[in-house]
Structures are given as structure tokens and as C-alpha cells.
């Protein structure tokens, strides 16, 4: 007999996971999707954010998600700084493609190795008070451990969507992705706007890291697992479409959840990369491509 309750639980867990994955991928959607900068180091900033939240949680007992919010200005500045170096060394000279990619790969590696020198390779997890509680809806358990990060992730997605659609800077970021020259002619400085956008992307990744460490244990090399997820979601979602990112994140969350329920967790990892390869090969513009 087919285990329907197992299936229902897996789908709900996948939905909740999808909310977190959306948060995880927002930064890539902005930086890679809109700015067209191949920031491979994005997952490293995610894990860095996770460890920042973990340190605040374990030393001061601060709620990890609150700590993540408090850290966003710091990561915004880090992101802005990284973009300035990138711009000065590569983009201005028109050498961004190959060497820029290598630059970010190097940064990814430096962050990962620094974290494993500082914290070792033990799994770390933050467990605030609500972890372990859950609500029951018709035989399906919804754990607060997943629900709270999912809701925060959805709030982040909505906030970013409104920011891009309604504010001056948001619209300028959308514009810089479409026509840099036209933006310059309108009197806006594309470099400044890209700096802001890059900072926001990194800050979003750090906050998503705080969500991550409340739902799953993290080690420094966890960033590798998220390279595939982030880029799969961004490509599938249509490169820079925030709504598309959310839909793609939920699809991936459910697919992974089903895979690990019915085939075992060791296959879940291949789902995101499989989706990515398929999306790249069949429809590179994604589900909601422009």
C-alpha cells in the first residue's frame, strides 16, 4: 500500500523548505540574475552568515534569526566592498568573465577554509526555544523549526520584491540589468547602483544563513551543497525574477523532500544539480524567463 501520509508530510516539508530556499537564492537572483555578475562565492557568504548567527546564539543566547537581522548591515558593507574590488580589478577593464569567475571561486575557498580553521569541521546548529514544538493539521505535523524560517524567508522575498518594484533604487537596479548606458544617460551612476545591489545580495545571503542554521546543522563545506541549489533555483526561476525564484525554490524543495523520503537522503543532493543541468540544457531562460 502506498504511504499517502508519508507523501503528504514530504510535500508539506518540501513547501516549508522551499520558503527557506527562496531566501537562500534571493541574493543570487539579484547579483547573478539582475547584475549579471557570476558570484560563485555567494554560498560562502550564506555559511558565513550562518556562523555569525551561531556565534551570537551560542555566546549571548540571542535568537539566531534576530542575530541574522542584526548582522545584515555588516554583510551589506562587506558585499559593497567586494563589489568595489571586483569592479576595480575586472569589470572596469572588461575582463570580468574568466578572471572574475576565478576571483569569486577564490573568495569562496578562502571563506570556507577560514571557517574550518576557526570552527573545525564539527556540525553546528542553533536551537532557539521554539525548536521541537509543532502544530498538527489533519495528520500532518508542521514543525516550528521549519515554519518560522519559512515565514521569514517569505517575508524577505516579499520585501525584496516590493523594494525592486516600488523604490527608486530598486527600479534603478532593474534598469541597470537592462541597459547600463541608458541609465547613465538618465543621470544615475551604474557603479553606485550595482554596489548597492551587490551589498543587498550579500546581506540577503547572510540572513538566509541564519535561517539555515536553525533548520539544519551546518559545517564549513556546506556551501558546496548550496552552489547547485542557488544556481538551479535562479536559472529555473528565470534569472532575476523574484516571483520565479520563489516558485522554483518551492519546486526544488518539494522535489528534494520527496527524493529523500522515498529514495534516501544521499540522493537528495543530486536533485538540485540534476534540475540545474536539465534546465540549462532544455530551457536556459527558465520558467519565467524574460
Amino acid at each position: 500500500m502506498f504511504a499517502w501520509d508519508l507523501l503528504a508530510n514530504a510535500i508539506v516539508a518540501g513547501l516549508l523548505l522551499g520558503g527557506v530556499y527562496a531566501a537562500v537564492s534571493l541574493g543570487v537572483s539579484v547579483i547573478f540574475g539582475l547584475l549579471d555578475i557570476a558570484n560563485i562565492a555567494q554560498p560562502a557568504f550564506l555559511i558565513l552568515g550562518a556562523y555569525a548567527a551561531y556565534v551570537m546564539y551560542s555566546t549571548f543566547g540571542l535568537d539566531p534569526i534576530l542575530a541574522g537581522v542584526l548582522f545584515t548591515p555588516v554583510f551589506y558593507l562587506v558585499g559593497a566592498g567586494v563589489y568595489r574590488v571586483y569592479y576595480g580589478s575586472f569589470e572596469r577593464r572588461g575582463e570580468e568573465s574568466l578572471r572574475g569567475l576565478v576571483f569569486f571561486f577564490g573568495i569562496l575557498f578562502i571563506i570556507e577554509v577560514s571557517l574550518s580553521i576557526k570552527f573545525g569541521v564539527d556540525y553546528r546548529v542553533a536551537q532557539p526555544g521554539y525548536v521541537g514544538k509543532s502544530i498538527e493539521l489533519g495528520g500532518i505535523g508542521i514543525a516550528y523549526r521549519l515554519l518560522v524560517p519559512c515565514l521569514v524567508g517569505l517575508a524577505m522575498t516579499l520585501a525584496l520584491y516590493l523594494f525592486l518594484a516600488r523604490t527608486f533604487y530598486g527600479r534603478a537596479i532593474m534598469a541597470v540589468s537592462q541597459d547600463r548606458l541608458a541609465l547613465r544617460l538618465m543621470g544615475a551612476n551604474p557603479v553606485k547602483i550595482k554596489t548597492v545591489a551587490f551589498g543587498i545580495g550579500i546581506a540577503a545571503a547572510s540572513l538566509a544563513g541564519a535561517l539555515l542554521i536553525t533548520i539544519t546543522p551546518v559545517i564549513p563545506s556546506t556551501d558546496r551543497d548550496y552552489i547547485g541549489r542557488m544556481f538551479a533555483i535562479t536559472v529555473l526561476g528565470g534569472m532575476g525574477s523574484i516571483g520565479g525564484t520563489l516558485v522554483a525554490a518551492i519546486i526544488l524543495g518539494i522535489a528534494e523532500s520527496l527524493m529523500s523520503t522515498f529514495f534516501g537522503p544521499s540522493w537528495a543532493q543530486a536533485v538540485s544539480f540534476g534540475v540545474l543541468l536539465a534546465a540549462l540544457a532544455i530551457r536556459p531562460a527558465g520558467l519565467f524567463g524574460r
Binding site: G106, I107, A270, L277
Partner: protein
């Protein structure tokens, strides 16, 4: 033909020197370290044929290396095949994989190609983890053959790697100086323009990915006998991806000498750092050196030398 003859003599000289070194039997650790550095010469050279000449950045080096290693494991498990068969078999399987990613370049350029290669590496690792015959996630002990043709097994493997490094570097040098190398350089600079000028870009790219894959597989095939215990995390290690691109970047990507310089410098530095500091510190150094070089000296050491000379 004089140039080819001289190259052959130089190559032969290096191999003979390797054999002599192996017969010296100094501290056995030196052969261990030397093997790793030579292996990186092969890997960096192979990566550079695609990354440096054709401009396609491959992040999936671990996939090709591990395919070579796991093909060898399979051949050892099923028929205890001799080392030359392992090397050839590993090379061929990785060459096929290379041909596959070559067709990917039809649709994917630049960043997308790089991410796809990284994805490929993870997918293959997951498959190996779930394949019990070659050890699965727990790994597998490999027993070396009882008697190597000469010396002990480590010095023998060292000599084999010298030979493979010479073959790889010779192949890269040959490609660079032939019309294939010029065609690859043309498509690196502007693929559309090259295509319009009648450069057979697809055939050249397929050639580059296949040769690059073959050499990476060849580098991985003796790996099981070298470590005697193969598990997915060590065979698919991301360190190979970082080193494979850091070494040519540091040496200089436009010439066959670049990857060799990079591999020798960075490889030796890593071996030293592993012994004197810690293995994590050596990876940290690789990352910092890589970023420093792409930001400050984008042409690598060869570029620096050229700039000094032209002054």
C-alpha cells in the same frame, strides 16, 4: 622537424632523470610529495588546454580526476588489470565525459558552462556514493600488486607520473603551436568572429574538452594505487578544482610553461605547508595566492616576466 626531435630528446631526458631519481631511494616522503606535484603538473596542463587555450573555465576537474580513479578501481575490482590498462581505461572514460561536456558548450557559454561542470561533478559524486561495487560512501581499500617492475611501488608510481607529466606537457605544447591552438585562441577571443572566419569552433572545442578530459583521467587512474584507499570525498575533492585553475592562473594561461611553473611552485608550497603548518593552512594559502594573482597579476608569472623584459 628539428624542433620535434629536440622536444622528444628533452622529454626523454626528463624521463631518464625521473628513473635515476627513483633509483636513488632518498627519503621515501620525497617520492610521495614529488608524485603529488607531478600529478598537479598533469592536472594543471590538462585544465589549461580547455581553460587557458579555449577560454572555457572548467570547475569540474574533480569529476574527471575521480572518473579516472574510479575506472581504475572498477578495473582492479573486476579483473585486477595492470597499471597501463588502468591509465588507458581511466583516460578513455574521462575523455568520453569530456566529449559530453564539449557538446554542452553548444548551448552553454561562459558562466553557465562553468556552473554546469560543477554540477556534473556533484551528480557523479552522488552516483559513486550510491554504487556499492566501488566502495560507495565508505570507500574501498585497494591492494597494490605485490611486485612492481622495478624499485618499490612508490618509486615506481613516481616514475610513471614523470612519464605522464612529460606526455601531458608535450601534448599541450604541440596543440599550442599547431593550427588547433591558434583556432582555440581565436575562439577564446571571440567565438562568433572565429566561426565567421571559418574556424571549425565546435570540432575544436570537442577536441579540447576530450583531450583535457583524457589527461585528467590519466592523472586520476594511478590514484587508487597511490593512496591504497579510495573514497568519494578524497577522489572528488574540491581542492583539485581550485588547484587546477589556480596553478595555470599563477603561472600564466597562454603558454604550456605557465601551468608547469604554477604547479611546481604552488604544489611545492602546499607540500611544505602541509608538513610544517597544517593541511588546512595550505588550502588557505592557495586561495589567497589565487585571489592575489587574479587581482594583481592577471597574466600570471609569465606575464610579469614579459613585462620586466619589455622594459
Amino acid at each position: 622537424m628539428r624542433g620535434t626531435g629536440r622536444t622528444f630528446l628533452v622529454g626523454l631526458g626528463v624521463v631518464v632523470a625521473g628513473v635515476l631519481l627513483a633509483s636513488l631511494r632518498v627519503n621515501p616522503y620525497l617520492y610521495f610529495a614529488g608524485y603529488v606535484i607531478l600529478q598537479y603538473i598533469v592536472i594543471a596542463t590538462a585544465w589549461n588546454i580547455l581553460g587557458g587555450y579555449a577560454g572555457y573555465v572548467n570547475f569540474g576537474t574533480p569529476a574527471f580526476f575521480a572518473m579516472g580513479a574510479y575506472t581504475a578501481v572498477y578495473l582492479i575490482q573486476s579483473m585486477r588489470a595492470p597499471l597501463p590498462v588502468l591509465i588507458l581505461g581511466g583516460g578513455l572514460v574521462s575523455a568520453l565525459l569530456g566529449l559530453g561536456i564539449g557538446y554542452l558548450t553548444l548551448r552553454l557559454r561562459g558562466v553557465f558552462f562553468s556552473i554546469a561542470t560543477l554540477a556534473l561533478s556533484i551528480v557523479l559524486q552522488t552516483m559513486i556514493i550510491n554504487w556499492e561495487y566501488v566502495g560507495g560512501s565508505r570507500g574501498l581499500s585497494v591492494i597494490r600488486p605485490s611486485s612492481p617492475p622495478f624499485g618499490n611501488y612508490v618509486t615506481f608510481l613516481f616514475t610513471v607520473m614523470v612519464l605522464l607529466a612529460v606526455i601531458a606537457v608535450t601534448a599541450a605544447r604541440f596543440i599550442e603551436r599547431s593550427w588547433v591552438g591558434r583556432g582555440l585562441a581565436a575562439l577564446r577571443d571571440n567565438e562568433e568572429a572565429a566561426e565567421c572566419m571559418g574556424v571549425p569552433t565546435l570540432r575544436l572545442k570537442l577536441f579540447a574538452t576530450t583531450v583535457s578530459g583524457f589527461l585528467l583521467g590519466v592523472a586520476g587512474a594511478p590514484f587508487p594505487y597511490y593512496v591504497t584507499f579510495v573514497e568519494p570525498n578524497s577522489a572528488f575533492n574540491l581542492d583539485y578544482a581550485v588547484n587546477a585553475l589556480a596553478m595555470p592562473m599563477i603561472g600564466g594561461t597562454t603558454s604550456w610553461v605557465g601551468p608547469v611553473i604554477g604547479a611546481v611552485l604552488l604544489g611545492s608550497a602546499q607540500q611544505l605547508a602541509t608538513v610544517t603548518i597544517s593541511s588546512e593552512m595550505n588550502l588557505f594559502i592557495v586561495g589567497v595566492v589565487l585571489v592575489a594573482f587574479v587581482v594583481l597579476a592577471p597574466e600570471g608569472i609569465l606575464g610579469l616576466v614579459r613585462r620586466l623584459r619589455s622594459r
